[in-house]
Symmetry: C2
Subunit: 301 residues, 2 copies
Protein backbone atom coordinates (compact mmCIF):
# COMPACT_ATOMS: atom_id res chain seq x y z
CA UNK A 1 0.00 0.00 0.00
CA UNK A 2 1.41 3.34 -1.05
CA UNK A 3 -0.19 6.75 -1.55
CA UNK A 4 1.50 9.34 -3.76
CA UNK A 5 -0.36 12.17 -2.09
CA UNK A 6 -2.37 12.26 1.13
CA UNK A 7 -4.50 15.19 2.33
CA UNK A 8 -5.11 15.60 6.07
CA UNK A 9 -7.92 18.03 6.83
CA UNK A 10 -7.64 19.06 10.49
CA UNK A 11 -4.10 18.70 11.83
CA UNK A 12 -4.76 18.18 15.54
CA UNK A 13 -3.76 15.25 17.75
CA UNK A 14 -5.36 12.60 15.55
CA UNK A 15 -4.65 14.16 12.17
CA UNK A 16 -1.02 14.88 13.03
CA UNK A 17 -0.49 11.44 14.59
CA UNK A 18 -1.94 9.87 11.46
CA UNK A 19 0.49 11.88 9.35
CA UNK A 20 3.46 10.82 11.49
CA UNK A 21 2.30 7.20 11.47
CA UNK A 22 1.93 6.82 7.70
CA UNK A 23 5.25 8.57 7.18
CA UNK A 24 7.07 6.32 9.65
CA UNK A 25 5.53 3.27 7.97
CA UNK A 26 6.58 4.55 4.55
CA UNK A 27 3.04 4.55 3.21
CA UNK A 28 3.10 7.87 1.37
CA UNK A 29 5.19 10.35 -0.56
CA UNK A 30 3.59 13.72 0.07
CA UNK A 31 1.25 14.89 2.84
CA UNK A 32 -0.73 18.08 2.39
CA UNK A 33 -2.42 19.63 5.40
CA UNK A 34 -5.38 21.91 5.76
CA UNK A 35 -6.89 23.60 8.80
CA UNK A 36 -8.30 26.83 10.15
CA UNK A 37 -5.15 28.11 11.82
CA UNK A 38 -2.22 28.85 9.56
CA UNK A 39 0.12 29.03 12.55
CA UNK A 40 -0.72 25.42 13.42
CA UNK A 41 -0.16 24.29 9.83
CA UNK A 42 3.18 26.08 9.70
CA UNK A 43 4.19 24.33 12.88
CA UNK A 44 3.06 20.96 11.48
CA UNK A 45 5.26 21.60 8.46
CA UNK A 46 8.23 22.58 10.63
CA UNK A 47 7.77 19.38 12.63
CA UNK A 48 7.82 17.37 9.41
CA UNK A 49 4.26 16.13 9.92
CA UNK A 50 3.10 17.59 6.59
CA UNK A 51 5.06 18.61 3.48
CA UNK A 52 2.82 21.45 2.41
CA UNK A 53 -0.46 23.03 3.37
CA UNK A 54 -3.27 25.07 1.96
CA UNK A 55 -5.79 27.24 3.73
CA UNK A 56 -8.20 26.18 1.00
CA UNK A 57 -9.60 22.70 1.68
CA UNK A 58 -10.40 21.97 -1.97
CA UNK A 59 -6.86 22.84 -3.05
CA UNK A 60 -5.36 20.71 -0.29
CA UNK A 61 -7.26 17.73 -1.68
CA UNK A 62 -6.37 18.17 -5.35
CA UNK A 63 -4.60 15.12 -6.69
CA UNK A 64 -4.74 13.23 -3.39
CA UNK A 65 -5.25 9.46 -3.40
CA UNK A 66 -6.24 9.44 0.25
CA UNK A 67 -8.13 12.16 2.11
CA UNK A 68 -8.40 12.00 5.89
CA UNK A 69 -10.92 14.23 7.63
CA UNK A 70 -9.76 14.86 11.20
CA UNK A 71 -11.77 17.95 12.11
CA UNK A 72 -14.50 18.24 14.73
CA UNK A 73 -17.59 16.33 13.59
CA UNK A 74 -19.68 19.49 13.30
CA UNK A 75 -17.94 20.81 10.20
CA UNK A 76 -17.58 17.54 8.28
CA UNK A 77 -20.61 18.05 6.05
CA UNK A 78 -19.63 21.54 5.06
CA UNK A 79 -16.06 20.42 4.47
CA UNK A 80 -16.99 17.49 2.23
CA UNK A 81 -19.26 19.84 0.29
CA UNK A 82 -16.31 22.20 -0.21
CA UNK A 83 -13.89 19.55 -1.42
CA UNK A 84 -16.29 17.35 -3.42
CA UNK A 85 -15.51 19.03 -6.75
CA UNK A 86 -11.75 18.67 -6.29
CA UNK A 87 -11.45 15.02 -5.35
CA UNK A 88 -9.50 12.89 -7.79
CA UNK A 89 -11.37 9.96 -9.30
CA UNK A 90 -10.39 6.74 -7.55
CA UNK A 91 -9.50 8.52 -4.31
CA UNK A 92 -10.52 7.10 -0.95
CA UNK A 93 -11.84 9.33 1.82
CA UNK A 94 -12.11 8.49 5.48
CA UNK A 95 -12.83 10.52 8.57
CA UNK A 96 -11.81 9.83 12.15
CA UNK A 97 -14.88 11.25 13.90
CA UNK A 98 -16.41 9.78 17.06
CA UNK A 99 -19.92 9.82 15.57
CA UNK A 100 -20.56 7.67 12.54
CA UNK A 101 -24.23 7.83 11.45
CA UNK A 102 -23.21 11.03 9.71
CA UNK A 103 -21.32 8.83 7.24
CA UNK A 104 -24.54 8.33 5.24
CA UNK A 105 -24.73 12.07 4.59
CA UNK A 106 -21.03 12.35 3.86
CA UNK A 107 -20.82 9.49 1.38
CA UNK A 108 -23.75 10.94 -0.53
CA UNK A 109 -21.78 14.15 -1.09
CA UNK A 110 -18.73 12.63 -2.77
CA UNK A 111 -18.75 12.30 -6.56
CA UNK A 112 -19.01 9.01 -8.44
CA UNK A 113 -15.75 7.09 -8.55
CA UNK A 114 -14.71 8.26 -5.08
CA UNK A 115 -15.03 5.93 -2.08
CA UNK A 116 -15.99 6.98 1.42
CA UNK A 117 -15.41 4.69 4.41
CA UNK A 118 -15.77 6.08 7.95
CA UNK A 119 -13.22 5.26 10.65
CA UNK A 120 -13.09 5.78 14.39
CA UNK A 121 -9.69 5.10 15.93
CA UNK A 122 -10.27 4.61 19.66
CA UNK A 123 -7.15 6.50 20.48
CA UNK A 124 -8.11 10.00 21.52
CA UNK A 125 -7.18 11.58 24.80
CA UNK A 126 -7.80 14.81 26.63
CA UNK A 127 -5.02 16.30 24.53
CA UNK A 128 -5.90 17.82 21.20
CA UNK A 129 -2.88 19.56 19.71
CA UNK A 130 -0.09 18.58 17.36
CA UNK A 131 2.50 18.84 20.11
CA UNK A 132 1.10 15.66 21.63
CA UNK A 133 1.00 13.82 18.29
CA UNK A 134 2.77 10.46 18.21
CA UNK A 135 3.51 8.08 15.35
CA UNK A 136 2.47 5.15 17.54
CA UNK A 137 -0.85 6.61 18.75
CA UNK A 138 -2.85 3.97 16.89
CA UNK A 139 -0.66 0.98 17.73
CA UNK A 140 -2.48 -1.53 19.88
CA UNK A 141 -5.65 0.59 19.78
CA UNK A 142 -8.96 -0.54 18.41
CA UNK A 143 -10.14 1.12 15.22
CA UNK A 144 -13.77 0.82 14.21
CA UNK A 145 -14.57 1.17 10.52
CA UNK A 146 -18.18 1.76 9.54
CA UNK A 147 -18.82 0.78 5.93
CA UNK A 148 -22.37 1.12 4.64
CA UNK A 149 -24.26 -0.78 1.95
CA UNK A 150 -22.94 1.87 -0.47
CA UNK A 151 -19.26 1.36 0.34
CA UNK A 152 -17.00 -0.17 -2.31
CA UNK A 153 -15.51 -3.44 -1.19
CA UNK A 154 -11.99 -2.54 -2.33
CA UNK A 155 -12.11 0.74 -0.42
CA UNK A 156 -13.28 -1.02 2.76
CA UNK A 157 -10.36 -3.40 2.48
CA UNK A 158 -7.92 -0.61 1.78
CA UNK A 159 -9.01 1.44 4.81
CA UNK A 160 -8.98 -1.66 7.04
CA UNK A 161 -5.48 -2.61 5.87
CA UNK A 162 -4.28 0.94 6.35
CA UNK A 163 -5.27 0.97 10.04
CA UNK A 164 -3.86 -2.52 10.50
CA UNK A 165 -0.54 -1.35 9.09
CA UNK A 166 -0.60 1.40 11.73
CA UNK A 167 -0.95 -1.29 14.40
CA UNK A 168 -4.67 -1.01 15.11
CA UNK A 169 -7.07 -3.85 15.75
CA UNK A 170 -9.72 -3.17 13.12
CA UNK A 171 -13.39 -4.03 13.61
CA UNK A 172 -16.31 -3.25 11.41
CA UNK A 173 -19.60 -1.96 12.81
CA UNK A 174 -22.81 -0.64 11.34
CA UNK A 175 -22.70 3.19 11.77
CA UNK A 176 -25.88 3.25 13.87
CA UNK A 177 -24.69 0.43 16.11
CA UNK A 178 -21.39 2.26 16.51
CA UNK A 179 -23.15 5.41 17.67
CA UNK A 180 -25.29 3.52 20.15
CA UNK A 181 -22.26 1.76 21.67
CA UNK A 182 -20.08 4.84 21.86
CA UNK A 183 -22.87 6.94 23.35
CA UNK A 184 -22.58 4.61 26.35
CA UNK A 185 -18.84 4.01 26.57
CA UNK A 186 -17.44 7.31 25.40
CA UNK A 187 -19.89 10.16 24.93
CA UNK A 188 -21.77 9.72 28.22
CA UNK A 189 -18.52 9.34 30.22
CA UNK A 190 -17.30 12.65 28.80
CA UNK A 191 -20.58 14.37 29.59
CA UNK A 192 -20.47 12.90 33.11
CA UNK A 193 -16.90 14.00 33.70
CA UNK A 194 -17.80 17.57 32.75
CA UNK A 195 -20.97 17.45 34.88
CA UNK A 196 -19.12 16.02 37.88
CA UNK A 197 -16.54 18.81 37.87
CA UNK A 198 -19.28 21.43 37.67
CA UNK A 199 -21.30 19.68 40.41
CA UNK A 200 -18.34 19.39 42.78
CA UNK A 201 -17.57 23.07 42.31
CA UNK A 202 -21.24 23.97 42.73
CA UNK A 203 -21.48 21.95 45.94
CA UNK A 204 -18.45 23.51 47.60
CA UNK A 205 -16.30 25.88 45.62
CA UNK A 206 -13.02 24.99 47.33
CA UNK A 207 -13.43 21.22 47.23
CA UNK A 208 -11.76 20.42 43.90
CA UNK A 209 -8.33 21.28 45.26
CA UNK A 210 -8.73 18.45 47.81
CA UNK A 211 -9.24 15.84 45.11
CA UNK A 212 -7.15 12.68 45.05
CA UNK A 213 -6.31 10.28 42.23
CA UNK A 214 -9.85 8.91 41.97
CA UNK A 215 -11.37 12.28 41.09
CA UNK A 216 -8.44 13.05 38.81
CA UNK A 217 -8.97 9.84 36.86
CA UNK A 218 -12.74 10.21 36.63
CA UNK A 219 -12.47 13.80 35.42
CA UNK A 220 -9.33 13.63 33.26
CA UNK A 221 -11.50 13.62 30.14
CA UNK A 222 -13.14 16.86 31.33
CA UNK A 223 -9.88 18.39 30.04
CA UNK A 224 -10.95 17.38 26.53
CA UNK A 225 -11.82 19.99 23.91
CA UNK A 226 -15.30 21.43 24.65
CA UNK A 227 -15.74 22.24 20.96
CA UNK A 228 -15.03 18.66 19.88
CA UNK A 229 -17.34 17.16 22.51
CA UNK A 230 -20.07 19.72 21.91
CA UNK A 231 -20.24 18.49 18.30
CA UNK A 232 -20.15 14.83 19.26
CA UNK A 233 -22.90 15.35 21.85
CA UNK A 234 -25.15 17.18 19.42
CA UNK A 235 -24.58 14.74 16.56
CA UNK A 236 -25.31 11.74 18.77
CA UNK A 237 -27.90 13.40 20.95
CA UNK A 238 -30.66 10.81 20.54
CA UNK A 239 -28.49 7.95 21.76
CA UNK A 240 -26.97 10.17 24.42
CA UNK A 241 -30.38 11.20 25.74
CA UNK A 242 -31.41 7.52 25.84
CA UNK A 243 -28.35 6.36 27.75
CA UNK A 244 -28.64 9.33 30.11
CA UNK A 245 -32.07 7.99 31.01
CA UNK A 246 -30.62 4.58 31.83
CA UNK A 247 -27.95 6.26 33.94
CA UNK A 248 -30.71 8.21 35.64
CA UNK A 249 -32.48 4.99 36.62
CA UNK A 250 -29.24 3.69 38.11
CA UNK A 251 -28.59 6.89 40.04
CA UNK A 252 -32.18 7.01 41.28
CA UNK A 253 -31.91 3.45 42.52
CA UNK A 254 -28.71 4.21 44.45
CA UNK A 255 -30.25 7.43 45.74
CA UNK A 256 -33.24 5.53 47.12
CA UNK A 257 -31.01 2.87 48.67
CA UNK A 258 -29.00 5.62 50.38
CA UNK A 259 -32.13 7.32 51.70
CA UNK A 260 -33.32 3.95 53.03
CA UNK A 261 -29.86 3.22 54.48
CA UNK A 262 -29.93 -0.11 52.64
CA UNK A 263 -26.26 -1.13 52.92
CA UNK A 264 -26.67 -4.53 51.35
CA UNK A 265 -28.64 -3.11 48.40
CA UNK A 266 -25.85 -0.61 47.79
CA UNK A 267 -23.18 -3.28 48.00
CA UNK A 268 -25.08 -5.29 45.37
CA UNK A 269 -25.07 -2.34 42.95
CA UNK A 270 -21.36 -1.74 43.50
CA UNK A 271 -20.47 -5.43 43.23
CA UNK A 272 -22.32 -5.81 39.95
CA UNK A 273 -20.44 -2.85 38.50
CA UNK A 274 -17.10 -4.13 39.80
CA UNK A 275 -17.72 -7.51 38.19
CA UNK A 276 -18.70 -5.94 34.85
CA UNK A 277 -15.68 -3.60 34.93
CA UNK A 278 -13.28 -6.50 35.49
CA UNK A 279 -13.75 -7.48 31.84
CA UNK A 280 -11.83 -4.36 30.88
CA UNK A 281 -8.99 -4.98 33.32
CA UNK A 282 -8.35 -8.25 31.58
CA UNK A 283 -8.65 -6.48 28.27
CA UNK A 284 -6.06 -3.98 29.49
CA UNK A 285 -3.67 -6.78 30.20
CA UNK A 286 -4.39 -8.37 26.85
CA UNK A 287 -3.77 -5.06 25.08
CA UNK A 288 -0.50 -4.62 26.90
CA UNK A 289 0.52 -8.13 25.90
CA UNK A 290 -0.53 -7.53 22.30
CA UNK A 291 1.31 -4.30 22.20
CA UNK A 292 4.45 -5.95 23.58
CA UNK A 293 4.05 -8.65 20.92
CA UNK A 294 3.76 -6.16 18.12
CA UNK A 295 6.80 -4.29 19.36
CA UNK A 296 8.78 -7.50 19.32
CA UNK A 297 7.47 -8.31 15.87
CA UNK A 298 8.25 -4.79 14.67
CA UNK A 299 11.81 -4.97 15.91
CA UNK A 300 12.38 -8.06 13.79
CA UNK A 301 13.19 -10.36 16.71
Amino acid sequence: MFFERVAILGVGLIGASFGLAIRVKGLCKTIVGHGRKEQNLRRAKELGIIDAYSMDAARACEGSDLIVLATPVGILKQLVGEIAGSIKKGAVITDVGSVKSIVYDLESLVPAGVSYVGSHPIAGSDQSGIDDARADLFRGARCIITPTENSHRAAIEEIASLWELLGSRVESLDPHKHDRIYAAVSHLPHLLAYALVNAAHGFSDDCIEYAGQGFKDVTRIALSSPELWRDISIFNKDNLINVMEILQENLDRIHDLLVAGDASGIEKEFSRAQRLRLVLSNDNQRSAANSADSMTAGSGL
Copy 2:
Protein backbone atom coordinates in the same frame (compact mmCIF):
# COMPACT_ATOMS: atom_id res chain seq x y z
CA MET B 1 9.57 9.82 67.05
CA PHE B 2 9.74 6.12 67.90
CA PHE B 3 7.06 3.61 68.87
CA GLU B 4 8.02 0.44 70.78
CA ARG B 5 4.89 -1.32 69.66
CA VAL B 6 2.37 -0.47 66.95
CA ALA B 7 -0.94 -2.27 66.36
CA ILE B 8 -2.44 -2.23 62.85
CA LEU B 9 -6.06 -3.34 62.80
CA GLY B 10 -6.99 -4.22 59.23
CA VAL B 11 -3.98 -5.21 57.15
CA GLY B 12 -5.15 -4.30 53.63
CA LEU B 13 -3.58 -1.91 51.14
CA ILE B 14 -3.50 1.06 53.51
CA GLY B 15 -2.74 -0.80 56.75
CA ALA B 16 0.03 -2.86 55.16
CA SER B 17 1.54 0.16 53.37
CA PHE B 18 1.51 2.03 56.68
CA GLY B 19 3.37 -0.86 58.31
CA LEU B 20 5.97 -0.96 55.54
CA ALA B 21 6.35 2.81 55.65
CA ILE B 22 6.98 3.14 59.39
CA ARG B 23 9.36 0.20 59.27
CA VAL B 24 11.35 1.67 56.37
CA LYS B 25 11.53 4.99 58.22
CA GLY B 26 12.69 3.22 61.40
CA LEU B 27 9.81 4.58 63.44
CA CYS B 28 8.96 1.42 65.37
CA LYS B 29 10.25 -1.77 66.92
CA THR B 30 7.35 -4.20 66.77
CA ILE B 31 4.22 -4.24 64.62
CA VAL B 32 1.28 -6.41 65.61
CA GLY B 33 -1.47 -7.04 63.09
CA HIS B 34 -5.11 -7.94 63.47
CA GLY B 35 -7.77 -8.75 60.89
CA ARG B 36 -10.59 -11.09 59.99
CA LYS B 37 -8.64 -13.41 57.73
CA GLU B 38 -5.82 -15.37 59.37
CA GLN B 39 -4.44 -16.31 55.96
CA ASN B 40 -3.95 -12.64 55.13
CA LEU B 41 -2.24 -11.98 58.46
CA ARG B 42 0.07 -14.95 57.96
CA ARG B 43 0.99 -13.60 54.55
CA ALA B 44 1.60 -10.12 56.03
CA LYS B 45 3.97 -11.72 58.52
CA GLU B 46 5.77 -13.68 55.80
CA LEU B 47 6.19 -10.47 53.83
CA GLY B 48 7.72 -8.80 56.89
CA ILE B 49 4.92 -6.24 57.10
CA ILE B 50 4.02 -7.27 60.66
CA ASP B 51 6.02 -9.12 63.32
CA ALA B 52 3.11 -10.89 64.96
CA TYR B 53 -0.63 -11.02 64.79
CA SER B 54 -3.65 -11.84 66.85
CA MET B 55 -7.14 -12.78 65.75
CA ASP B 56 -8.29 -10.98 68.88
CA ALA B 57 -8.33 -7.21 68.39
CA ALA B 58 -7.97 -6.37 72.10
CA ARG B 59 -4.92 -8.62 72.44
CA ALA B 60 -3.34 -7.12 69.33
CA CYS B 61 -3.56 -3.69 70.96
CA GLU B 62 -2.16 -4.63 74.38
CA GLY B 63 0.93 -2.60 75.17
CA SER B 64 0.84 -0.65 71.89
CA ASP B 65 1.87 3.03 71.86
CA LEU B 66 0.21 3.60 68.51
CA ILE B 67 -2.94 1.94 67.21
CA VAL B 68 -3.92 2.37 63.57
CA LEU B 69 -7.42 1.38 62.52
CA ALA B 70 -7.40 0.51 58.82
CA THR B 71 -10.61 -1.48 58.49
CA PRO B 72 -13.73 -0.57 56.52
CA VAL B 73 -15.49 2.35 58.23
CA GLY B 74 -18.56 0.26 59.08
CA ILE B 75 -16.84 -1.76 61.78
CA LEU B 76 -14.82 1.00 63.44
CA LYS B 77 -17.27 1.63 66.29
CA GLN B 78 -17.55 -2.01 67.20
CA LEU B 79 -13.79 -2.41 66.95
CA VAL B 80 -12.99 0.54 69.20
CA GLY B 81 -15.53 -0.81 71.68
CA GLU B 82 -13.73 -4.18 71.66
CA ILE B 83 -10.26 -2.75 72.21
CA ALA B 84 -11.10 0.12 74.57
CA GLY B 85 -10.36 -1.87 77.72
CA SER B 86 -6.95 -3.02 76.46
CA ILE B 87 -5.47 0.26 75.34
CA LYS B 88 -2.37 1.34 77.20
CA LYS B 89 -2.56 4.69 78.95
CA GLY B 90 -0.77 7.34 76.90
CA ALA B 91 -1.37 5.51 73.61
CA VAL B 92 -2.46 7.38 70.50
CA ILE B 93 -5.10 5.99 68.17
CA THR B 94 -5.79 7.03 64.63
CA ASP B 95 -7.87 5.59 61.83
CA VAL B 96 -7.45 5.99 58.09
CA GLY B 97 -11.12 5.98 57.13
CA SER B 98 -12.57 8.04 54.30
CA VAL B 99 -15.43 9.34 56.49
CA LYS B 100 -14.50 11.44 59.49
CA SER B 101 -17.62 12.68 61.34
CA ILE B 102 -17.60 9.27 62.96
CA VAL B 103 -14.50 10.42 64.88
CA TYR B 104 -16.77 12.06 67.49
CA ASP B 105 -18.27 8.66 68.32
CA LEU B 106 -14.92 6.92 68.27
CA GLU B 107 -13.08 9.36 70.52
CA SER B 108 -15.86 9.08 73.08
CA LEU B 109 -15.25 5.33 73.33
CA VAL B 110 -11.57 5.46 74.26
CA PRO B 111 -10.65 5.58 77.95
CA ALA B 112 -9.19 8.62 79.70
CA GLY B 113 -5.49 9.07 79.04
CA VAL B 114 -5.77 7.78 75.48
CA SER B 115 -5.79 10.18 72.52
CA TYR B 116 -7.79 9.76 69.35
CA VAL B 117 -7.01 11.78 66.21
CA GLY B 118 -8.62 10.81 62.91
CA SER B 119 -6.59 10.67 59.68
CA HIS B 120 -7.46 10.31 56.02
CA PRO B 121 -4.49 9.68 53.78
CA ILE B 122 -5.61 10.51 50.21
CA ALA B 123 -3.74 7.58 48.83
CA GLY B 124 -6.20 4.80 48.17
CA SER B 125 -6.70 3.13 44.84
CA ASP B 126 -8.90 0.50 43.33
CA GLN B 127 -6.54 -2.06 44.84
CA SER B 128 -7.21 -3.25 48.33
CA GLY B 129 -4.88 -6.11 49.19
CA ILE B 130 -1.50 -6.40 50.87
CA ASP B 131 0.12 -7.54 47.65
CA ASP B 132 -0.19 -4.01 46.34
CA ALA B 133 1.15 -2.43 49.55
CA ARG B 134 4.07 -0.04 49.09
CA ALA B 135 6.27 1.71 51.64
CA ASP B 136 6.02 4.92 49.61
CA LEU B 137 2.23 4.93 49.19
CA PHE B 138 1.87 8.06 51.32
CA ARG B 139 4.82 9.96 49.91
CA GLY B 140 3.72 13.10 48.10
CA ALA B 141 0.08 12.38 48.95
CA ARG B 142 -2.16 14.68 50.94
CA CYS B 143 -3.16 13.47 54.39
CA ILE B 144 -6.10 15.13 56.12
CA ILE B 145 -6.17 14.95 59.90
CA THR B 146 -9.42 15.79 61.65
CA PRO B 147 -8.83 16.76 65.29
CA THR B 148 -11.87 17.79 67.32
CA GLU B 149 -12.26 20.16 70.26
CA ASN B 150 -11.58 17.09 72.45
CA SER B 151 -8.26 16.16 70.86
CA HIS B 152 -5.06 16.55 72.90
CA ARG B 153 -2.69 19.03 71.36
CA ALA B 154 0.35 16.77 71.77
CA ALA B 155 -1.46 13.89 70.06
CA ILE B 156 -2.51 16.10 67.13
CA GLU B 157 1.10 17.14 66.68
CA GLU B 158 2.34 13.57 66.96
CA ILE B 159 -0.08 12.26 64.31
CA ALA B 160 0.68 15.20 62.02
CA SER B 161 4.44 14.63 62.39
CA LEU B 162 4.02 10.92 61.79
CA TRP B 163 2.33 11.45 58.40
CA GLU B 164 4.87 14.12 57.51
CA LEU B 165 7.68 11.67 58.23
CA LEU B 166 5.99 9.30 55.78
CA GLY B 167 6.17 12.03 53.16
CA SER B 168 2.58 13.25 53.25
CA ARG B 169 1.41 16.84 52.99
CA VAL B 170 -0.67 17.14 56.16
CA GLU B 171 -3.72 19.39 56.41
CA SER B 172 -6.18 19.73 59.22
CA LEU B 173 -9.92 19.90 58.59
CA ASP B 174 -12.99 19.89 60.77
CA PRO B 175 -14.49 16.36 60.49
CA HIS B 176 -17.81 17.65 59.14
CA LYS B 177 -16.13 19.87 56.57
CA HIS B 178 -13.97 16.90 55.55
CA ASP B 179 -17.03 14.76 54.93
CA ARG B 180 -18.72 17.45 52.88
CA ILE B 181 -15.65 17.95 50.68
CA TYR B 182 -14.95 14.27 50.17
CA ALA B 183 -18.59 13.51 49.39
CA ALA B 184 -18.05 15.68 46.30
CA VAL B 185 -14.51 14.76 45.26
CA SER B 186 -14.31 11.11 46.27
CA HIS B 187 -17.54 9.45 47.36
CA LEU B 188 -19.74 10.74 44.52
CA PRO B 189 -17.10 9.90 41.86
CA HIS B 190 -17.01 6.31 43.14
CA LEU B 191 -20.78 6.06 43.14
CA LEU B 192 -20.87 7.52 39.61
CA ALA B 193 -18.22 5.13 38.33
CA TYR B 194 -20.23 2.17 39.61
CA ALA B 195 -23.48 3.63 38.20
CA LEU B 196 -21.90 4.35 34.81
CA VAL B 197 -20.69 0.77 34.40
CA ASN B 198 -24.14 -0.57 35.28
CA ALA B 199 -25.84 1.95 32.98
CA ALA B 200 -23.56 1.16 30.01
CA HIS B 201 -24.23 -2.54 30.47
CA GLY B 202 -27.95 -1.91 30.89
CA PHE B 203 -28.06 0.18 27.71
CA SER B 204 -26.31 -2.37 25.52
CA ASP B 205 -24.90 -5.48 27.09
CA ASP B 206 -21.99 -5.89 24.69
CA CYS B 207 -20.84 -2.27 24.71
CA ILE B 208 -18.32 -2.33 27.57
CA GLU B 209 -15.88 -4.42 25.56
CA TYR B 210 -15.66 -1.55 23.03
CA ALA B 211 -14.52 0.94 25.66
CA GLY B 212 -11.39 3.01 25.14
CA GLN B 213 -9.09 4.75 27.58
CA GLY B 214 -11.67 7.40 28.55
CA PHE B 215 -14.16 4.87 29.87
CA LYS B 216 -11.36 2.90 31.51
CA ASP B 217 -10.15 5.97 33.38
CA VAL B 218 -13.63 7.11 34.42
CA THR B 219 -14.55 3.66 35.70
CA ARG B 220 -11.21 2.48 37.15
CA ILE B 221 -12.50 3.19 40.64
CA ALA B 222 -15.48 0.93 39.97
CA LEU B 223 -12.89 -1.82 40.60
CA SER B 224 -12.70 -0.63 44.22
CA SER B 225 -13.95 -2.80 47.06
CA PRO B 226 -17.80 -2.71 47.13
CA GLU B 227 -17.71 -3.44 50.87
CA LEU B 228 -15.46 -0.48 51.63
CA TRP B 229 -17.49 1.91 49.49
CA ARG B 230 -20.80 0.60 50.76
CA ASP B 231 -19.70 1.63 54.26
CA ILE B 232 -18.40 5.02 53.15
CA SER B 233 -21.61 5.73 51.22
CA ILE B 234 -23.83 4.82 54.16
CA PHE B 235 -21.75 6.72 56.73
CA ASN B 236 -21.68 9.85 54.58
CA LYS B 237 -25.11 9.44 53.08
CA ASP B 238 -26.48 12.89 53.95
CA ASN B 239 -23.67 14.72 52.18
CA LEU B 240 -23.75 12.20 49.37
CA ILE B 241 -27.49 12.67 48.83
CA ASN B 242 -26.98 16.44 48.81
CA VAL B 243 -24.19 16.39 46.25
CA MET B 244 -26.13 13.88 44.13
CA GLU B 245 -28.85 16.49 43.90
CA ILE B 246 -26.38 19.10 42.65
CA LEU B 247 -25.11 16.60 40.10
CA GLN B 248 -28.71 15.97 39.10
CA GLU B 249 -29.23 19.66 38.39
CA ASN B 250 -26.13 19.66 36.19
CA LEU B 251 -27.22 16.54 34.31
CA ASP B 252 -30.75 17.89 33.85
CA ARG B 253 -29.38 21.12 32.44
CA ILE B 254 -27.22 19.24 29.90
CA HIS B 255 -30.15 16.94 29.10
CA ASP B 256 -32.37 19.94 28.31
CA LEU B 257 -29.64 21.57 26.20
CA LEU B 258 -29.29 18.33 24.23
CA VAL B 259 -33.04 18.05 23.70
CA ALA B 260 -33.07 21.66 22.49
CA GLY B 261 -29.99 21.03 20.31
CA ASP B 262 -28.35 24.04 21.96
CA ALA B 263 -24.73 23.53 20.90
CA SER B 264 -23.42 26.75 22.35
CA GLY B 265 -25.11 26.09 25.72
CA ILE B 266 -23.47 22.67 25.82
CA GLU B 267 -20.08 24.09 24.93
CA LYS B 268 -20.44 26.57 27.80
CA GLU B 269 -21.07 23.75 30.29
CA PHE B 270 -18.10 21.76 29.01
CA SER B 271 -15.80 24.80 28.92
CA ARG B 272 -16.60 25.73 32.50
CA ALA B 273 -15.75 22.21 33.66
CA GLN B 274 -12.57 22.12 31.60
CA ARG B 275 -11.44 25.41 33.15
CA LEU B 276 -12.22 24.20 36.70
CA ARG B 277 -10.46 20.88 36.09
CA LEU B 278 -7.30 22.62 34.90
CA VAL B 279 -6.55 23.53 38.53
CA LEU B 280 -5.84 19.87 39.19
CA SER B 281 -3.61 19.43 36.17
CA ASN B 282 -1.36 22.09 37.58
CA ASP B 283 -1.60 20.44 40.95
CA ASN B 284 -0.56 17.16 39.34
CA GLN B 285 2.54 18.80 38.00
CA ARG B 286 3.28 20.38 41.35
CA SER B 287 2.91 17.02 43.07
CA ALA B 288 5.20 15.39 40.56
CA ALA B 289 7.74 18.14 41.16
CA ASN B 290 7.41 17.80 44.93
CA SER B 291 7.74 14.11 44.74
CA ALA B 292 10.86 14.42 42.57
CA ASP B 293 12.23 16.88 45.12
CA SER B 294 11.63 14.58 48.02
CA MET B 295 13.19 11.68 46.18
CA THR B 296 16.28 13.74 45.57
CA ALA B 297 16.28 14.80 49.19
CA GLY B 298 15.73 11.19 50.28
CA SER B 299 18.66 9.94 48.28
CA GLY B 300 20.94 12.35 50.10
CA LEU B 301 22.01 14.20 46.97
